[in-house]
């Protein structure tokens, strides 16, 4: 449905996208993640035919974007900071594009209602908030009732209510068997929406997996608070559990189950006040994956 094949793009000495390959299935919501400057926008621009790769191919429905017939009815896209003329009204912005997409004028009204911009539709865009601009960009992307949505940081500038609205919208969209490719520099922002992720850093692929696979990478640890932490630590060491950290008198124990920690404490006759399994967050995994490589 959407694929990058050895995609490479350089700007002078900087390689913005470096030999990037991935492939999206139809009917999925894929998060395209990476820190700011990782090459997400450049990749999306190449997928949309706005930028020419130096090497490799960017394909949508198996073809370069420019070769699609009436692309507005197949792919809807919003790039960062919705591209709008400040002196044009929302309705006119949509009419201009609807003309090319060959959709009836009634569709303009429909998408305005869909993104809740009916009341502001005849105001010039210069008075719009960032959130309204984002929604207008989304309305334009939806004009042709596309089967694929490509969104670059759509949550930027949205208030919490707007983020929630967007999440619900994308879920509904995907539930109709359509496909969403949405970028974000924050995993938490999309974790509840996406079912798979493509993670890049410095223009290179870091991970391409389902969200559940990513979750499975979560390293668990056990938090144990005991009356005599030193004794407990010693007992754990004797039992062959080396990875422990002290925090306010409690211990974080890695690589072992809570049951086992309890057994060791019981065998050493150390009273335990608290014993919990804790898992690191998805965000931790994301940060770990995209951490600067040691130089």
């Amino acid at each position: 449905m959407l694929s990058a094949v050895e995609l490479t793009k350089r700007f002078g000495d900087i390689t913005a996208v470096d030999d990037l390959s991935f492939d999206l299935d139809a009917g999925s919501v894929t998060g395209f993640l990476g820190p700011n400057g990782a090459g997400k926008t450049t990749t999306m621009r190449m997928l949309l035919g706005l930028a020419e790769p130096d090497h490799g191919r960017a394909l949508v429905f198996g073809r370069p974007f420019a070769e699609l017939e009436r692309p507005g009815t197949r792919v809807g896209a919003v790039l960062e900071a919705a591209d709008l003329h400040p002196g044009r009204t929302a309705r006119d912005h949509l009419r201009v594009l609807a003309e090319v997409a060959r959709v009836p004028p009634s569709r303009v009204k429909e998408v305005l209602a869909l993104v809740d911009l009916n009341e502001a539709a005849d105001r010039r865009v210069k008075g719009y908030s960032l959130g309204m601009r984002q929604r207008l960009g989304l309305a334009a992307a939806l004009l042709g009732d596309p089967e694929l949505l490509i969104l670059d940081e759509p949550a930027n500038g949205l208030d919490p209510e707007g983020v929630r609205w967007l999440r619900d919208f994308l879920r509904t969209f995907a539930a109709q068997g359509r496909t969403v490719f949405v970028s974000s520099h924050l995993l938490a922002e999309v974790a509840q929406t996406v079912d798979q992720v493509v993670i890049i850093n410095h223009g290179r692929l870091v991970a391409e997996s389902s969200l559940s696979e990513l979750t499975a990478r979560l390293a668990g640890s056990v938090l144990v608070a005991a009356a005599r932490p030193d004794a407990l630590e010693a007992a754990l060491h004797d039992a062959g559990v080396a990875a422990t950290e002290r925090e306010n008198g409690a211990l974080h124990v890695h690589g072992v189950s809570a049951d086992r920690v309890g057994e060791i404490a019981l065998a050493a006759k150390i009273p335990v006040r608290q014993l919990v399994t804790e898992s690191s967050s998805l965000e931790d995994v994301f940060l770990e994956l995209t951490a600067e490589p040691p130089s």
């Binding site: 974007f65 692309p71 591209d83 044009r88 009419r95 594009l97 090319v100 997409a101 060959r102 960009g137």
Partner: protein
Amino acid sequence: MSRQLRSELLKLRTTRTAAVLLLAAAALALLGIAAEGLSPTPGELAPEDEQRLLFGSAATNAVLFATFVGLLAVTNEFRYGTIRPTLLFEPRRRVVLAAKLAAAALAGIVFAVVCLLVAFGAGLAILAARDVDVALTGAHTLTLMLGTIAASALSAMLGVTVGALIRNQVGAIVALFAYVLAVDAVLFATVPSVGRYLPGQANNALAGLPDDELLAPGVGAAVVMAWTLAFIALAALRTDRSDV
């Protein structure tokens, strides 16, 4: 009419840019006619050449502002990023360029017609008020009208190509002014045998302005068309290749 052309025409009508430029062109045309028609004595206004100059002042304004409409139609897309939605709906860049050229040409024709209406309306009124007989011949009137319309349409297209080549709005405007004031006019004043082939002077010839150093209107038309085609070719190459 192609979808893209309709879209481009709608773009021109849905911001104030083109309307403001049209108003400015009409106002300056009126001002020009008033200055040319009121300052000379009635006797000085009587010769046909003088009246060609008077009515021809419409052409200068129409051409200048038509160029701007074309230039802004492109550079505004880059300035505000609307080029991206435009190309997402029509990724064939040459189709977009062609539609912009056509829309700008139509706008140029509107500019010419409005400026001509202003010029002839005010000019004839001034001549009548000052008891000067209209000496302009039918043939020259026709040349002036058709020439102004053609020159404005072609200039608007040239404006589109300049915008497509330079993209940066301020840069394109500065380049256009620098060219018109420092190259076109200066070269024509110093070396008319060369300067007359430049687009600005060829446009003046096409519009039928009376100046012995200018080319004949028909030759002027051919020269402007050659310039326009050359610039369209360059703009097409630039459009094909660049990232947006």
